[in-house]
């Protein structure tokens, strides 16, 4: 490994080191606060390392990894999400769990897995990254032992993720049998030379099944609602953002390498999946009374929208990245509010608990409203330009059916987002004020970060040009 290659993977090494450092801190019996602050600093270190090495990109690290603009973008997004999730976790776990420290090890390991996914160009690194992500997630989902829901969700995720890993491995084995290689570029060369055989297509299909499980695409979405509901709120935010960003990144890279979007069969299947995602996600969310389940169904719908951009191939990558940026900021602020409202016994997931939130806490209600409006894609929030870019790419590629479904389902989606917002402004019932036991600094920090997120949403909505330019600059690496 040369010096430049080492430099290129430096951010990922720091990320891996963060998990080790947390273990050592636990071994030396440091407090939760120390671990939290150290983790925060390490994550900032990853971002700085990314910034420091950006001139050396793109760099191949054969045979497993490649660090390029796409990877840098997605990793940056992942680290940003983890920073926010970590901040939310402090309050959440300090209040409910006598043993919140191992949480950070698992959190950083899952992040490492997701980051490895974004830089993998080989089936081995893809599989190890995915397993690292899922194995950490099993434990993270079931982290709160007292809740039956959490354990149930953990077991569900365990069984389904193990099943999808089996599909993935089988698909990889079939492709390896046909092409004799596990490297994306070598696979592409092999199919250019000899065309796609039936076994190869089956392999791709099996891999798509596994990725569909991870992204909760219809018809592999059945775990999503239960896991979102059962997992602790920060972990749900993590699943909804970090794990899906990583898997989506590797999907883009793989599809780009083998030109998946030029294969008629694959395009048909993905189109059907996208339409099913948009319809099923939005319709299931319509009458949902549980906010976490509602967000789960809405995330299914959002990944349906993302598939529209994905189908456009290279032209859609910029739109997809921008959509993911807007989507993760939005979801992080929504889950931030859920975390802040949760009590020690259970998460604030019942819609009736949000009744009249505006009159109790205007700031929280404002943040939540902006987040929901952004999810719905109302102008002046980040969701609007994001959806607009996706529509543009869809129209440019003449995918009229997809575009029509997207617009229609967005209207359906508007209904349930507005329903939640109207609940926020309804007259409040008398509820006991939540007791606060922690140092006020952490509340101030959390509130401040949520306000920053809200401002980001507004800024992206009004003036998306800056981010779009930067995304384009990174992608042209």
């Amino acid at each position: 490994m040369t010096y430049l290659q080492f430099l290129a993977i430096l951010p990922f090494i720091i990320l891996a080191a963060a998990a080790i450092v947390v273990i050592l801190l636990i071994a030396f019996k440091q407090s939760h606060t120390v671990i939290q602050v150290t983790g925060f600093i390490m994550m900032c270190g990853v971002v700085f390392a990314m910034w420091y090495v950006r001139d050396t990109l793109p760099r191949q690290v054969p045979p497993l990894l490649v660090v390029d603009g796409l990877a840098a973008l997605f990793t940056g997004l992942i680290i940003f999400s983890v920073l926010v999730v970590g901040l939310l976790s402090y309050i959440y776990f300090e209040e409910r769990e006598e043993n919140p420290k191992e949480y950070y090890i698992l959190l950083f390991l899952a992040t490492l897995g997701s980051a490895v996914l974004t830089i993998s160009r080989h089936f081995i690194s893809l599989f190890i990254g995915l397993e690292l992500l899922s194995v950490s997630l099993y434990a993270l989902i079931a982290y709160l032992r007292n809740r039956n829901n959490a354990v149930e969700a953990g077991v569900k995720y365990l069984v389904l993720a193990a099943l999808s890993s089996a599909f993935l491995l089988f698909g990889m084995a079939l492709i390896y049998m046909e092409t004799g290689s596990m490297e994306f570029s070598a696979i592409a060369r092999a199919i250019d030379a000899s065309g796609m055989s039936i076994l190869f297509v089956m392999g791709i299909g099996l891999i798509l099944v596994a990725i569909g499980f991870k992204l909760a695409l219809v018809p592999f979405h059945l775990w999503a609602a239960d896991v979102y509901q059962g997992a602790p709120a920060p972990v749900t935010a993590f699943i909804a953002t970090v794990s899906k960003i990583g898997v989506f990144a590797v999907l883009i890279r793989f599809a780009d390498a083998i030109h998946l979007q030029q294969n008629v069969l694959a395009v048909t299947i993905i189109t059907i999946m996208a339409i099913a995602c948009m319809l099923v996600g939005n319709i299931l969310a319509l009458m949902q009374q549980n906010v976490k389940r509602l967000l789960a169904y809405s995330s299914i719908a959002h990944f349906g929208y993302l598939l529209v951009a994905f189908l456009s191939g290279n032209a859609g990558v910029g739109a997809a990245v921008f959509y993911l940026v807007a989507y993760s900021i939005t979801l992080l602020s929504a889950f931030g509010i859920i975390t802040l409202l949760s009590t020690a016994r259970r998460d604030a997931d019942d819609l009736s608990g949000y009744r009249g939130l505006f009159w109790r806490s205007p700031l929280m209600a404002a943040i939540f409203t902006v987040a929901l409006l952004s999810l719905a894609g109302i102008p002046l929030t980040a969701g609007f330009p994001a959806k607009f870019f996706i529509l543009t790419t869809g129209v440019q590629q003449h995918r009229w059916l997809l575009v029509m479904v997207l617009v229609l389902t967005s209207v359906i989606g508007l209904f349930y987002y507005l329903r939640v917002i109207s609940t926020l402004f309804a007259s409040p019932p008398l509820t006991p004020v939540k007791e606060r036991t922690l140092h006020p600094f952490f509340y101030v920090a959390t509130y401040a970060s949520l306000v920053v997120l809200m401002c980001l949403l507004g800024w992206l909505g009004v003036y998306p040009g800056f981010v779009v330019e930067n995304v384009r600059a990174f992608l042209s690496f």
């Binding site: 273990i23 390991l109 950490s136």
Partner: protein
């Protein structure tokens, strides 16, 4: 024998025997390295791990009875049919003579080690992290069960220990009463 025994320890011993047997098969096929790996990895590590789990979970006659209840024909007929299908397939393949002999390339341990610790070193290290995630997660969830039992006992018997745990449960019960009011 492994799956028909009701007592887990007996089943595990039979499992060890079957591992040794399959490693002998590898040895007779001319692959001493794989045979050694089979014994070291499976028969050694996994069996030790299994026995640890069995001992820690403290299974006794109770589980044997439960196993007996689970092992009904309804449960094992479907897998048995599938396995039978595989067996038939294999027999057909064995008796059809039109297959060409497979090209066997012997990979030396040295070559394997060099590629693992040279080219694929990052994969090996990431696998280490994967194991770490598994261990930390298992340790955390395993710790739960014991503590939960502990708490139920404390709830039943009143104030025996003034630990942090009891204070937390008290806080929770206080909150419950507050909610009821």
């Amino acid at each position: 024998m492994v799956i028909t025994r009701y007592h887990p320890v007996h089943a595990l011993l039979y499992l060890a025997v079957s591992f040794f047997a399959s490693s002998m098969v590898f040895l007779s096929l001319g692959a001493p390295f794989v045979a050694a790996l089979e014994i070291i990895v499976y028969a050694g590590a996994i069996i030790v791990l299994f026995i640890f789990v069995v001992m820690m979970l403290n299974l006794g006659n109770e589980t044997a009875r439960q196993e007996r209840e689970w092992l009904k024909p309804k449960v094992w007929v479907m897998p048995a049919v599938l396995v039978l299908l595989l067996l038939i397939e294999m027999i057909i393949l064995l008796f059809s003579n039109d297959t060409e002999p497979m090209q066997i390339a012997v990979v030396e341990p040295r070559k394997l080690a060099l590629s693992l610790y040279g080219e694929y070193i990052i994969a090996v290290e990431l696998t280490g992290f994967l194991l770490m995630a598994g261990i930390v997660g298992a340790a955390h969830i395993g710790k739960h069960k014991k503590e939960e039992l502990h708490r139920f006992l404390q709830n039943g018997q009143g104030d025996q220990q003034k630990t942090k745990r009891t204070r937390k449960t008290k806080a929770i019960t206080n909150e419950q009463t507050a909610l009821h009011e």
